[in-house]
Amino acid sequence: MKRFDIQLDNDNQLRHFLTIEGLKKQMLLDILDNAENFSSVSSRQIKKVPLLRGKTIANLFFEASTRTRTTFELAAKRLSADVVNININTSATKKGESLLDMLHNLEAMQVDMFVVRHHSSGAAHFIAQHVAPHISVINAGDGSHAHPTQAMLDMFTIRRHKQDFTKLSVAIVGDIMHSRVARSQIHALNTLGVPEIRVIGPQTIIPNEAAHLGVHVYHDMQQGLQNVDVVIMLRLQRERMEGALLPSENEYFHMFGLTEEKLKLAKPDAIVMHPGPINRGVEIESSVADGPQSVILEQVTHGISIRMAVMSMALGRPSLTEGGQS
C-alpha cells in the first residue's frame, strides 16, 4: 500500500485526515466548500444540526491544547455527535503496546472516530494503520510533522478575504523548523495554486529542505514582506527546541517580530494571521495582533466550520453503510 492512500477509501473519499500532502486540489476545495456551508450553522440560535447523531468521537490529546481541542469538541457537538475527551498525561503514558491497547478498548466502546494530537511525528498515521476498518482518524497535530485542519482553516480564512489563490503572495514568518502548521500550510498553498510562498526566519530555524518544498527562503523581514497579500506569523516553539538555536527573545522580536512598521512593507490590504497561542512581544506586537489587519480570531471561528466539514466527510462516506470497506 502506498503511504498516502491510507487517507482515502476505495471510492477515493476522505477516510482519515492525517496530512495535506498527497491530497488532490478538488478534495481541499470540497473541504473548504463544505466548511462554508457549515459556517452558517454557528450563527444560528440553535447551533446544532443532526448530521452525526449516534456517532461517537474520541478526542485523544497526548499534548496540551486549548483552542484545537475545544474547537474539535464544539464541531462534533454542533453535528450532534457524542464526544469523549481523553487527556493523556504524557509522562504516565507508555509507548507501543499500551497505546494500542487503549485504542482497542475505545474501539470496544463503539467509537467511530479518533481525533489525535501527539508530540511524536507520525503518531496519527500509526494509529490509522491499526484501527478497525470502520474507524476514521483525524490528525490534530503530530510532533513537527502535520496539522492539516489548522492549515485548512487558514486556507478558509485566506479565501474569505482574498478569493483567488492563484494571484497571491503569502509569507510565513518564524520557526519553520518546528512548525507542523507551516509544513501543512505550505502543502495546502501549493496544492491550491498559490504562486508565491515565502518563508522568513533565522537560518537556524529554517530547515535545509525548505527550498525543495517550493518556497522562497528569506532571512530578512524587510525583503521578505515586500508586497505580500498574507502574513502568517508562527509561535516560537521553545518547548520543541534543543540547544541554542536562537538569541534572546528581545533580539528575535527586533529582527523577526511583526511590528506596525514592518507590516507597512506588505500590501496595504494584507491580512495578518497566527495559529495561536500568540506570544505578544516575541513574534508579534500587540497593536498588530489586535489591529485592523489581524484576522487571528476569525481563524478560531473558522476552525469550527473546517472541523465540522472534515468530520462529516469522513463519517458520512457512502461506503460505510454499504459495508464495502477499504
Partner: protein, 176 residues
C-alpha cells in the same frame, strides 16, 4: 390503464398560476395576512421565487438546504455545491408557507420541518407544492398542490430552469 403521462402534458406556467391563486385563497380562508415564505433547495426555491413575486409577500424569501437533516446522509454523503440555508427573518410566531417542487415520499418535508424548528417556533407551517405524486412514505400531505399526477415507479418528474429563467417540468423514464 390510461396512457403514461408525458412531459408535454404539463403546462408549467399554468400550474404556477393555479398554485398561486389556490394559495391566495387558502391564506384568505385562514385569515393570514403577513406570511413568510421558505423554498427548499433547489427546485422548491425556484417555485418559491415565482410565488413570492405573484403574492407580493413583504418579507424576504427564505431558502432551506436540508442536507444536514437528511435521513439518508450516510448513504449519499456530502454535497458541497448546494448553497446553505438562509432564513433572513425571525421565524418565531410567523405563519410559514413552505414550498417544494414535487411532493413524493414526504421525507424532504420531514427534514425541512426539523430544520425550521431549529430556528424557532413558528405559529403555523403550510405546505405548497407544484406537483403531488403518489408513493408517500410518511404522514405528510400538501395544503395546496397545483396538480396531482400518477406516475409509474420508473418515471421521474423533475423541475428545470432554462437560461431565460423559465421553469418547466419534465418526466424521465429509467429502464425497468
Amino acid at each position: 390503464m390510461t396512457e403514461r403521462l408525458q412531459s408535454n402534458d404539463l403546462d408549467t406556467p399554468a400550474l404556477l398560476d393555479t398554485l398561486s391563486s389556490e394559495l391566495r385563497n387558502l391564506l384568505k380562508n385562514r385569515n393570514i395576512e403577513n406570511p413568510v415564505m421558505i423554498g427548499i433547495h433547489t427546485g422548491g426555491l425556484w417555485v418559491a421565487e415565482e410565488l413570492h413575486k405573484k403574492l407580493n409577500i413583504e418579507q424576504p424569501l427564505g431558502a432551506l438546504n436540508i442536507t444536514f437533516y437528511r435521513d439518508d446522509f450516510t448513504r449519499i454523503g456530502m454535497h458541497p455545491q448546494v448553497q446553505p440555508s438562509n432564513l433572513p427573518f425571525n421565524i418565531d410566531d410567523q405563519h410559514i408557507i413552505l414550498v417544494d417542487d414535487v411532493l413524493h415520499t414526504g421525507r424532504t418535508i420531514r427534514a425541512a420541518l426539523n430544520e425550521i424548528f431549529d430556528y424557532g417556533r413558528p405559529a403555523s407551517v403550510m405546505l405548497a407544492v407544484l406537483v403531488e405524486r403518489g408513493c408517500r412514505e410518511l404522514p405528510v400531505s400538501a395544503d395546496v398542490a397545483a396538480t396531482q399526477i400518477k406516475l409509474e415507479k420508473n418515471q421521474h418528474i423533475k423541475l428545470n430552469r432554462n437560461a431565460a429563467s423559465e421553469l418547466f417540468l419534465s418526466i424521465e423514464e429509467t429502464a425497468k
